[in-house]
Amino acid sequence: MNVERLNGLSIEALYALADKMGLDLPPALERVFVVEALLEAIEEDSAERKSAGDAAVHIEEKKYSGSELDEIDASIDAAPCIECRYNETVVQVIARDPEWAFVFWDVKDEDFDELHASDAYSHLFLRVIKEPGYDGKTSASFEVVVGDEDDHWYLHLPEEDRAYRVDLYAKIGAKARLLAHSPVIRTPRALMSDSLADLDPDAAELAALSGLASLKIVPAPEHHPSRILGAFDD
């Protein structure tokens, strides 16, 4: 997006775009200042994305030559038109990166009605379970309370290179009722499998020449503790 293309938009579209980009602009600002603020925000956003490292995907955008509809598109928060749920009791989890997973769930109307019919029903929660690992540790878990209206969440997972499962529960009085459980996922490794001490000098040098530093990849320490053991109630 450049200055020429911003100048082609209506003031309403410019304000909508500013809103979408999280800019808090005073109302009735002169057009030139709105454009200036947007350009600044776009430049900042671009700089952030470049500093995020791998620009391949950002460059990939260029092959989809757009039209001025893109800016109008960008200014509309359109929700999907298709039905948003399938009226089933389910929970799914997808590993996004070493630290975050995307969880989505649903409780079918019949189950929900039954829960709400009980005076003791308090809330839904997700139990995040660390599956037993190859290190022989027992499983551990922590809980996240979610609202009745929620249906998805990004969960911070405490350990890289671990298997997790997420169970959906309803809290009823002092008891927790299991509603659904997800398949097991594994968070990817964030540290190299080997410490530099494990590698011979040639291998360590070749790893460095391959861009270890620019990719901000950290070799495994000789003994690295789990990052946030305290998050679990072993």
Partner: protein, 529 residues
């Protein structure tokens, strides 16, 4: 002595966009622009290198969606119509710029580009670009690879082996139909690798792929030769590793060659700059401004005032950048070779093909130039991935980690607040498709057609392009509609099958519109036990 090897890998991909219900369609231009600015110019580069007996080797991944569109008669004929319109605009531009000493020669450049494209496409290749690629494939110049059926970001679907298998099977079947032989190489869309996918790939006779540097360096165990040699998974599947320095030379938005001020600016285009009454017939519906491909300004650098584009000045920079690329790779290879036990270091340089010519206008010239300049250079040679694999079959054993070439290095591009809603639907489609394949394992006739169409819709919904565009805020409405259409079509089929009724007229219309993967076999979705 050979001190280094370079594998240039081009990933050619566009999502499936074919809208026969409309006389013309904005997003079909993605294909037309890529044919005009990338594929035909690259084929001319290859022809010139062949004519001059320059040794050149490229690994080229062709996605099944692009393969289908390049082979589609409706899109071919629409391309010729679009090209005629571009030629008409080129004529008008010549008249508009005549007498202007700066812009008149540039308008000639565009006229010549579109005239040559028309001649090459209609006469030289008879509309058959796949045939032209096959010619170089058979000569051993191009190592053709396939890719995920609809460019799905595979790690997201790893808990559904039926879905990842379908992405691989449909790709292999399409490749065989187009080129009469089985592919050996598989491009992981977005370099999205995860441990275990090698089993699926090997099951279809595929032998090698490319992974991100991050995925490889985080592999288990750590590769002993960094990114300078591939690694072999325990089942023998070879993963080549992207070279960071070679990629950044082109990819870096700020320091990469395409950012040079002398090169043609991508954004300034007469579609946005000239009056609507002039460009109207060549943009969308005569009024929605869009790129036309006619651009007269150089990148220039910081500041508001751009300078006119000079092809001669740009040509000089192409030569310099080609020399620099070769020189830097030799330097890199020399540094690595000292630690390599005698094997020449391999630098794998993967790029999106469509950026050469389309975004980086001078890109095809640069590709031509690096092959010409490497010709007289000792110690550096271009090689294809399959050729390397044959020469060096034994590699260090390691399994790369889940990673991608996206921002952040994992799956964040395809899973964030703008696009995460997609997965609730696609997962449901996959589950229902598995259910259908289990319920109807031996169907034929009409019901088989219905089930095959359902499988097509699942594959189309898995395309990573739509979440990507939703995140980028580009063609977002269109991307959203593609997903919604696939979900709606699939759900209608599911309900029809549950109710034991089939709307044949609707089905036939859908088969004609989404006519990709004619040989699909829905049974690929049967549960993997």
């Amino acid at each position: 002595m050979e001190s280094g090897l370079v594998a240039l890998v081009l990933n050619s991909h566009l999502p499936f966009v074919r809208q026969p219900d409309y006389p013309r369609f904005l997003e079909e231009r993605w294909l037309f622009e890529s044919i005009s600015e990338t594929y035909l110019p690259l084929l001319r580069v290859f022809a010139r290198l062949e004519a001059d007996k320059v040794p050149w080797k490229i690994s080229l991944a062709l996605s099944p969606t692009l393969e289908a569109m390049l082979g589609d008669s409706l899109l071919r004929s629409r391309y010729v119509s679009w090209l005629s319109s571009q030629l008409e605009l080129a004529e008008k531009e010549k008249a508009r710029c005549s007498g202007n000493p700066v812009f008149a020669p540039l308008s000639e450049v565009y006229y010549e580009l579109y005239r040559k494209n028309y001649e090459d496409f209609t006469v030289l290749y008879g509309g058959n670009i796949l045939g032209a690629l096959d010619f170089y494939y058979k000569k051993g110049r191009i190592d053709l690879m396939t890719s995920g059926a609809t460019n799905a970001f595979m790690p997201i679907y790893r808990n559904y082996p039926e879905a990842t298998t379908a992405q691989v099977e449909a790709a292999v079947v399409s490749f065989r139909a187009a080129f009469g032989r089985s592919p050996s190489g598989f491009w992981m869309p977005q370099l999205g690798w995860y441990p275990g996918v090698e089993e699926t790939l090997s099951a279809y006779g595929l032998q090698y792929s490319v992974v991100s540097t991050r995925g490889a360096l985080l592999g288990d165990p750590t590769p002993r030769q960094g990114s300078y040699a591939p690694v072999s998974c325990p089942n023998g599947f070879t993963t080549f590793i992207r070279d960071v320095a070679a990629t950044d030379a082109v990819w870096s938005e700020t320091k990469g060659y395409p950012a040079d001020p002398a090169y043609r600016d991508f954004y300034r285009d007469i579609g946005f700059d000239l009056p609507l009454e002039y460009v109207g017939p060549y943009i969308e519906q005569n009024q929605i401004r869009t790129f036309t491909g006619f651009k007269y300004w150089a990148i220039t650098g910081k500041g508001d005032q751009k300078i006119p584009y000079s092809p001669d000045a740009a040509r000089g920079r192409v030569a310099e950048h080609a020399e620099r690329f070769i020189r830097d790779r030799i330097g890199q290879a020399t540094a690595a070779a000292a630690h390599m036990d005698g094997r020449p270091p391999l630098m794998v340089a993967p790029y999106d093909a469509e950026l050469f010519g389309h975004w980086w206008f001078e890109g095809p010239q640069w590709i031509e130039s690096i092959f010409r300049k490497a010709q007289g250079v000792d110690g550096l040679r271009f090689i294809t991935l399959s050729e390397y694999r044959r020469s060096y079959p034994d590699n260090f054993e390691s399994v790369p980690e889940y990673a991608s070439w996206g921002d952040g290095g994992y799956g964040g591009v395809w899973m964030e607040k703008s696009n995460d809603w997609v997965y609730r639907h696609v997962f449901k489609m996959i589950e229902r498709m598995i259910e259908l394949a289990e319920r109807f394992p031996n169907e034929s006739g009409l019901r088989e057609r219905v089930l095959n169409q359902a499988a097509r819709e699942v594959l189309l919904a898995q395309a990573s392009d739509w979440p990507f565009l939703l995140r980028a805020g580009k063609s977002g409405s269109f991307a959203r509609k593609q997903i919604e259409d696939a979900v709606t079509n699939f759900n209608r089929i599911y309900e029809m099958l549950c109710a034991n009724t089939v709307g044949t007229e609707w089905l036939t219309r859908l088969e004609k519109r989404n006519n990709i993967f004619p040989n699909i076999n829905y049974r690929v979705f049967r549960r993997k036990r």
